[in-house]
Amino acid sequence: MDRLYFDIAHLLAGGLVLTSFMLLYQDRLYALLNTYALQALVLALAVGWQAHIQHAAHLYITAAIAVIFKALVIPFALHRMVAQLGVHREVESVVSLVPTMLAGIALVALSMVVMLRVTEGADPLAREDLAFALSVILLGLLMMVTRSNAVSQVVGFMSLENGLILAAAAAKGMPLVVEISVAFSVLIALIVIGIFLFRIRERFDTVDLQALDDFRGERR
């Protein structure tokens, strides 16, 4: 039975990394948002499974937060925003897809090597989850760095936060208060960034941050 628990947890955490790669691969805004919702759903499942294994009731709340806010509210809000912004729905990337994917694979390898070595002797379940969580965080950062579209940077940031929640759920004993406050800070960040998005669009008719650099007279 333990073996099955472990495998399912492993599968769900791995699924999170997979959705991170899917996020990296998207070049349409709506598809990106849908993939993000999918990732949030997978996260909710992973956290819910952890709650089941650890018999930790508060993790169910975390999973519920993930479903309600991350899988429904935020993608919906971003959908509306993109629609209202009326910008073209393509993701402008600075680095093309193939090198990004390769870099992503390298990052996953790196986080595996680091985490598995550092957490030697810890609970195998937590070890795997931590390694996957670090991969998700790094992939989120990679997405923020390689995309110049503001919306996709926001999504990168959110997926980074998903990695944090996965790590927190795996490491037993993270208080619920912290998780809730993290969730809310992300929500606030979304609002702030949303306002910025509109301001940027007002001025430059695009959410491509490259336009800001051009405006400052920087060369590409």
Binding site: L110, V113, R117, L141, V145, L209, D213
Partner: protein, 669 residues
């Protein structure tokens, strides 16, 4: 007085600073503040001396201040007690002096709020028993003294002096912070008792020694970190200069002693080598520059650098002897170092007070415009002469006693087994002898040019004797210089518990010898009797004076044919400070400084005046500080680009740093 009492008194000092701010409208505020500081410091001196002479046991106290998990540890042992006495006695003398001197001060409101906290901070440094309290007090000491240096910030180069000072003070504190970090070890134990319990490994200990040399050395004025000292010390008002030069440098040495002799555990044999080398270089550089400058207070500041060098030589000698198992020789060198510290705090304060008296009387610091002050200010001149004699190490004054002890220790060096030390110590001794001789020349120049001869300017001609407070403070210090010189045996015996604490051995009791003589090694080898020398000098001088008066005064004198070489009464025909130093300047130019003389002599028949120009350049600036400032400037120019990156580039920087660290972790473990 107990440690708790000391701390209450220091708290009182700290409170006087804000009090000076709030009471700024009270009349005679300066007398109130200085009087308060004087009384408190006198109390503290008395308490420290009593504890020292009675051989009181170390006493520790923890107050619930500062870092919550650490508290503030204070401790007084023989070493702290000695420095407490030195600091507070000089501070008491300075406040007494300031009762008179402060009246002529225009920028009262910029001095009074900082003076008591400055004194309090020096006290706290000495009493601190954990790195946190130590560094906090050290920094308070730096900042308060910086504020005092900046009291007359609109005059001349004072703003630049303050800038250089604060930079060097920051560097010093930073080095000490690192030193304590290394001493604290992996678990970061900041209390001194914890550090004592876990002496670091040899390599770490070497690094701590280097950091302590930089940290304490920059405050004390070790070359090449001395550059701020001749700028900042003269810029402050004279009683502050006296404290900075006479006492703050000693507090820096206290920090060095505490780290190297107490916290660092057993010493390695080579530790003395860099200490003696920098000490010797500092002594020679300090005294050479003292000879070149005309500003009274700057000369004194440079001479402080020289004396710090002398003290560091003695400390290095003590370490060299101690690590080679020669306990009594180590005790001799350490006694000499502590004795010289005490002496320097006395006569350097005295000399700065004297220069303050000259400043009050003439409003002039340039020796080239003084002269003949002895007639107008006989008492100040006499005290200045005592100070000059003491600092030039003339018997029977105290400077001679301590420098003689250092030379006695140097003469013991052939018994050391290490060839490095065997070769280094005689060379250091030669440099020390050079420095001592040049110091004599320097103070002959200082006293001769400003107090003897005829006035070179209107200001010097109108000079008047200063008030009783200033004379009283100078007189007390001068008397102590004489007493400590005549009765060195008592001082050496009083220092022996401290020496025992630091090097684990002590000199033989000197007061048992009788006739007030001292014999540092063995009576057969060398001994010195200050009282005898004093009596001989006094009696022979009186006898000579009597004989001359008796025989010469009665004779008929017909004056003047050639007027004893003074046919022209123009004071410009006298020796100037530049001309006095010229031979030495020419011999040593290009070595530690570059002196350029420019003579502009008009052709015969040309009526324009001839000109003589002299420019002196400190090579330390050229070879150490210019490259550093250039490097910092260039680096800052490069890094400037980082201010103008795009959001994505900043994110990439963070991302890159994270990946790099993870990679390092992956490869390293």
């Amino acid at each position: 007085m107990t440690l708790a009492g000391d701390l209450v008194a220091i708290g009182g000092l700290l409170a006087l600073g804000p009090a000076a701010l709030t009471l700024s409208r009270v009349r005679h505020l300066s007398s109130l503040i200085y009087g308060g500081v004087f009384l408190i410091c006198l109390l503290l001196t008395g308490g420290a001396l009593r504890g020292l002479l009675a051989g009181a046991a170390p006493e520790a106290l923890t107050l619930p201040l500062g870092l919550p998990w650490l508290g503030a540890h204070f401790r007084i042992d023989a070493l702290s007690g000695f420095f407490l006495a030195v600091v507070n006695f000089a501070a008491a003398a300075a406040s007494f002096y300031a009762l008179g001197y402060g009246r002529h001060e225009k920028a009262q409101s910029r001095i009074l709020p900082f003076f008591p906290p400055f004194v309090a901070a020096m006290n706290l440094v000495v009493l601190a028993d954990d790195a946190y309290v130590f560094l906090l007090s050290w920094e308070l000491m730096s900042l308060a003294s910086w504020a005092l240096v900046m009291a007359h910030h609109r005059e001349g180069d004072n703003a630049r002096a303050g800038y250089v000072y604060i930079l060097m003070a920051t560097l010093g504190t930073f080095a000490l912070l690192l030193a304590y970090g290394l001493l604290g070890g992996a678990d970061g134990d900041l209390s001194f008792s914890g550090m004592r319990g876990h002496p670091p490994s040899a390599a770490v200990a070497g690094a701590v020694l280097a950091l302590a040399l930089i940290g304490a050395g920059s405050k004390a004025g070790l070359t090449p970190l001395h550059i701020w000292l001749p700028l900042a010390h003269p810029a402050a008002p004279s009683h502050i200069s006296a404290l900075m030069s006479g006492v703050m440098t000693k507090v820096a040495i206290y920090g060095f002693l505490r780290i190297v002799f107490d916290l660092l555990g057993p010493a390695a044999w080579w530790w003395g080598v860099p200490m003696m080398a920098t000490g010797a270089a500092t002594a020679v550089v300090g005294v050479l520059f003292a000879l070149l400058h005309n500003d009274l207070k700057r000369v004194l500041a440079y001479s402080t650098i020289e004396n710090i060098g002398v003290i560091f030589i003695a400390l290095g000698l003590s370490l060299a002897f101690e690590t080679n198992g020669q306990g009594t020789a180590a005790a001799l060198a350490m006694t000499a170092a502590l004795f010289h510290m005490l002496n320097h705090s006395l006569f350097k304060s005295l000399l700065f007070f004297g220069s303050g008296a000259v400043l009050t009387a003439t409003d002039e610091r340039d020796m080239g415009r003084l002269g003949g002050l002895l007639n107008a200010m006989p008492l100040s001149g006499l005290f200045m002469l005592v100070g000059a004699g003491a600092i030039s190490a003339l018997p029977p004054l105290n400077g001679f006693a301590s420098e003689w002890l250092i030379f006695q220790a140097i003469l013991l060096s052939p018994s050391l087994p290490s060839w490095t030390l065997k070769l280094e110590i005689p060379a250091v001794g030669a440099l020390l002898a050079l420095a001592a001789a040049l110091a004599g020349a320097c103070f002959v120049r200082l006293f001769g040019v400003s107090f003897l001869g005829r006035p070179r300017g209107e200001a010097a001609r109108r000079a008047k004797e200063v008030d009783r407070f200033m004379l009283g403070a100078m007189g007390a210090l001068a008397a102590l210089c004489l007493v400590a010189g005549v009765l060195p045996g008592y001082v050496i015996d009083a220092l022996s518990p401290i020496v025992h604490l630091l090097v684990g051995a002590r000199m033989a009791p000197q007061t048992d010898l009788g006739w007030l003589a001292i014999a540092p090694v063995a009576e057969s080898r060398s001994s010195y009797d200050g009282m005898l020398v004093f009596l001989f000098i006094a009696s022979s001088a009186l006898l000579a004076a009597a004989v001359i008066h008796r025989l010469a005064s009665d004779a008929t004198r017909i004056a003047p044919a050639w007027d004893c070489g003074f046919p022209d009464s123009n004071p410009a025909t006298q020796y100037t400070p530049e001309s006095f130093a010229q031979p030495i300047r020419r011999v040593f130019t290009g070595f530690v400084f570059r002196a350029r003389e420019k003579v502009d002599m008009p052709a015969p028949g040309d009526p324009r005046p001839a000109h003589f120009g002299l420019s002196i350049q400190d090579l330390v600036w050229d070879f150490v500080y210019r490259p550093v400032t250039r490097g910092v400037q260039a680096g800052a120019d490069r890094l400037n680009r980082l201010q103008f990156l795009t959001i994505r580039q900043y994110l990439s920087l963070v991302f890159g740093a994270l990946v790099l660290l993870l990679l390092a972790l992956a490869i390293w473990t």
